[in-house]
Assembly symmetry: C2
Homo-oligomer: 363 residues x 2
């Protein structure tokens, strides 16, 4: 084992002693005072180069790492970001949350934060969770993920002056003043539609969610505007249904019978799976006879034998943005933008009719 000084990522080969070393221990070994060691960690610029090196060596030799609790107590921070991890959404093909959490964990780590999960099946439980964590100063900030109509969580957190960033726009609440990060769904469906237009399709159908869902209407507008920009009619080419495979399959059947579209853009991969199902039943080849594009790039889309072309949300970027805004918030720096809107990409696979797309990505 080398004895050279290493940085924060140091991993000692020896077992942890019963009581880990403290700042004072390191100070004594390095022949300096506690505060100097503290400065070596938090304000290295204040130290002379040789002193800094000496302290760092002592830190490395002893395998010292600052006690979290003590630091938290003194600085009134925790370096923890709270995230409600509600009940698993079984029964849908959507694993967006999973991917997002991964991205958030990584982005947080880079910014020196960790992610703390807490349960909460409904709004009341969620608020109780927020309240407990806030009162006990267990977390520095929150990330909230569902910003559906009238969600009381954002309003409650705002009232408590708790720092938080939302993944998702405050669709119905124009008075909301909290920072948010979201993905431009309309841009995604426009991308999908233009991808199909570029291949000569003119009768491109839409299968989306019910009208009261603002996210669904947003995605729909991308298809709608892309069509009309080309002077193409959308009459009879749109359907609004529940987000289930069966609904998607039925809607596709009806549209095929009544309007003879050559391509489908869907508000979700779940609906797109329904379309694929109908195509199979009718012996129509996805990609060759009829093109299909989904939304979310779910596991099903990736894994299916006929790869499903799908709009992919840049969740990694979303997480990075959220952490960035959170950082500004916590350092009392002004947050320039109220909201950040990111553009998704299109993952092209066989179902949209491009021969051997080899997982191409269009932007």
């Amino acid at each position: 084992m080398s004895s050279e000084a290493r940085g924060a990522g140091h991993v000692s080969g020896v077992p942890l002693p019963a009581l880990p070393p403290t700042l004072a221990d390191v100070a004594e070994r390095a022949g300096v005072s506690r505060q100097t060691v503290s400065n070596a960690l938090n304000n290295p610029d204040l130290l002379r180069a040789d002193t800094l090196a000496r302290v760092r060596q002592a830190i490395a030799e002893m395998g010292y790492s600052p006690n979290r609790a003590a630091r938290n107590l003194r600085t009134r921070t925790s370096s923890l970001i709270g995230l409600r991890f509600g009940p698993a959404q079984e029964g849908t093909a959507n694993a967006t949350m999973d991917r997002f959490v991964h991205s958030l964990v990584e982005a947080s780590e880079l910014a020196g934060y960790h992610v703390l999960l807490f349960p909460g099946d409904d709004d009341d439980e969620a608020v109780t969770g927020y309240d407990n964590l806030l009162r006990s100063t267990a977390v520095d900030a929150f990330v909230i993920t569902d910003t559906y109509l009238g969600n009381p969580q954002a309003a409650w957190l705002t009232r408590q002056r708790a720092p938080f960033v939302a993944f998702g726009r405050p669709w119905h609440d124009h008075t909301a003043r909290h920072p948010w990060v979201d993905v431009d769904g309309a841009a995604g469906t426009r991308l999908a539609t233009e991808h199909l237009l570029a291949q000569g399709h003119t009768r491109i159908a839409w299968i989306g969610w019910r009208k009261d869902n603002p996210i669904g209407e947003d995605r729909r507008s991308g298809w709608f505007n892309a069509m009309h920009d080309q002077g193409l009619s959308t009459t009879g080419l749109a359907s609004r249904v529940e987000d289930t495979i069966n609904s998607g399959a039925e809607a596709a059947a009806v549209l095929l019978d009544e309007s003879e579209p050559t391509a489908f853009v869907c508000a979700s991969d779940t609906l797109a799976m329904g379309v694929l199902h109908t195509l199979w039943i009718r012996q129509l080849a996805p990609g060759t006879d009829i093109a299909v594009v989904g939304f979310d790039d779910s596991q099903v889309a990736q894994v299916f034998p006929v790869g499903l072309t799908s709009v992919r949300q840049p969740l990694e970027d979303v997480a990075v943005e959220i952490v960035r805004v959170l950082g500004s918030l916590l350092n009392h720096q002004p947050v320039q933008e109220r909201g950040v809107l990111l553009t998704p990409t299109l993952v092209v696979r066989e179902s949209s009719g491009v021969a051997d797309p080899a997982e191409r990505t269009a932007t």
Copy 2:
């Protein structure tokens, strides 16, 4: 708003003051000393009933909650359980991890713990993560989830005397002495096989993973033994492939051609999806012509038009067991069992040939 005293779940309607109340504030209001308030929280038995009530009322009125950092510092605990949240496994139909994390979060909450996520793409990064969290006393214990052959994480944690519980048996390391909780995969596939046998199938094929995967071999043994218990031959009925849809589809095609099975038991839903694909191509109706059973009860299984019968791991129970063992470990109580093995259930859907199963569950 009522002014009656409420318990720990109290949610105040008023915004949080700039500085939350402390133990001393509550003590002053209740006309007692700090220690008495502390006892009211941690050792209520020590207080006279009327004093306890008075203190509790003050706590409720002020919306007091003990400062986490101070408590952690003093007691050298954090009430946090560390869980590595590695890279998302895209490209498989498996969302087991997601469901497990949810269960763990809920079970932890009930036991007074929270779950802390940290990244780590490979073993080295994971160990670095463990090391940092341990040295800074940021977590009380760990839960580790992948116990594949030669995983150095368990050995490292053992060497550091860090409390941890593994989800998964230490398959290859018989010297391992750490506690673990796992699901009996063989029992699951036996359940699946016997379910098919009960419906008159005798030529039941197996599609599993490569031989070097002990989990796959375990699951295979359940099918194998169930068949032989009935005096049925398994010759030519087994296939070992990669865990992809395409591999499953190819294996199914070969088996159908060469051995004419009437049912398939698969080591994963991913492979089962492949089987379904081959059936579609060959115009064979799943459930009616050929029965199929998967493993993991993934979203795909639940969501597919032809519901996929699948073995479901009792992840909720796994989480509860893990937290229980963790609790014993942290309270220095002896842990009776080295390992806990839980039995999965079978979720019956259309693909196994039962008419209108209506999501029945067999145990």
